[in-house]
Symmetry: none
Subunit: 229 residues, 2 copies
């Protein structure tokens, strides 16, 4: 099914022009000339994307008002301002108001189309599973990145923040050797090499409390550490 694009623009010639162009590129277009008719239509059915002019007939800021109404109806609806007004002030206001893009009428048709499809691409990420990696499992190890909780064969292991980052850095690519500098970067710290050694010591101890045979963190002489599967 084609995507629907709503155009709100008071000038009939420009409106028809843009509408034609969008239709030619496979969108299903509904066009409105003023705020009221657009708002009425949106209340029954939202488009997949809205292209708004700012000045609408009698209302010099009708587009802004419409943008606010739309945002109240849906936080995710892609909104683009397409207007003759090219002041910084209007642009910043428009974006602050919740629009996703702001184009002046000097924008070329290819630019408009490219920006519309870029915005659709991003909006589509919401529909699909955003692939938000929440938990990392490596054998008996389990790291919940949202809860900042670590577990080893079912039992929970209390790690401090720095320790958690270090374990995450090591376990993300099992078998890969991480040198101390990389570990510092992943843990967002800048410290002496010996301090990393200390952290590894404490991490090992904490895992050994839960599993005496724990040996997943292997030292690689002269290089750093490696997570052993």
């Amino acid at each position: 099914m084609p995507r629907t694009v709503a155009i709100v623009e008071d000038d009939p010639a420009i409106r028809a022009n843009y509408a034609d162009m969008l239709k030619k590129h496979g969108y299903q277009v509904s066009a409105y000339a003023d705020r009221k008719s657009a708002a009425d239509a949106f209340r029954t059915r939202l488009p997949d994307l809205a292209l708004l002019d700012i000045g609408l007939g009698e209302e010099p800021d009708g587009g802004f008002a419409l943008c606010r109404e739309l945002r109240a109806l849906s936080a995710a609806l892609p909104i683009i301002f397409l207007t003759a007004r090219d002041s910084d002030f209007d642009l910043v206001s428009g974006l602050r108001m919740g629009a996703d893009d702001y184009l002046t009428k000097s924008a070329s048709l290819p630019e408009i189309l490219a920006r519309i499809s870029a915005l659709f691409r991003r909006a589509d990420l919401l529909r699909d599973p955003p692939a938000a990696e929440e938990v990392l499992e490596r054998g008996p190890l389990r790291l919940d990145m949202k809860r900042f909780q670590a577990g080893w064969s079912g039992k929970s292991v209390d790690l401090t923040l720095t320790e958690f980052w270090l374990v995450h850095s090591l376990a993300r690519f099992p078998g890969h050797v991480k040198d101390r500098d990389q570990l510092m970067r992943d843990a967002h710290i800048v410290v002496d090499d010996s301090t990393i050694t200390s952290h590894v010591k404490r991490i090992r101890r904490k895992f050994q409390v839960v599993d005496g045979a724990f040996a997943a963190i292997e030292s690689v002489y002269g290089l750093g550490y490696r997570w052993n599967p």
Copy 2:
């Protein structure tokens, strides 16, 4: 944890200029002069947003290549081209390649900032899908989103607006750790870290008036707070 913005730009003066501006607006900035150093850094840690020049030193299209590499690493990472090239061709290529926005260096600083924050707003939708529930119930907790009223095992708890937002932010994903910056965003305030501590103190006190054993808000040392089911 402030948002990180990566800037890849070969001209040292421009790079420093943009980096300063972004830092002044609260972003944590990492700057790179060429494709290789940027790509290396991105492989270990992705920024929250990338600002790319297209021409990078010897490579006239280094930014395009970098954009492709970044998109391979993450489909959701916000990417903005910021370049002197103002041809339609480059713009359309850049957006087709997966960038979310395309700015020329003639763009004003307010425009750049507004577009960055608009993009962050949209990217945030991925992290916290919009919730439209009228009433949120989590065990004994009950939040009426319409009336801004909170309840604990049937008894009503008088929260101020800010407190209500904070409780909502915490309770929405029980167990998930929210740092102070996320809490501020969810409560629509910009304050000192210690102020969040104060709010939590007052929230706990109010719940404890109703239930002496209240302990649903757990502090996570070094990170923030978590709602305990």
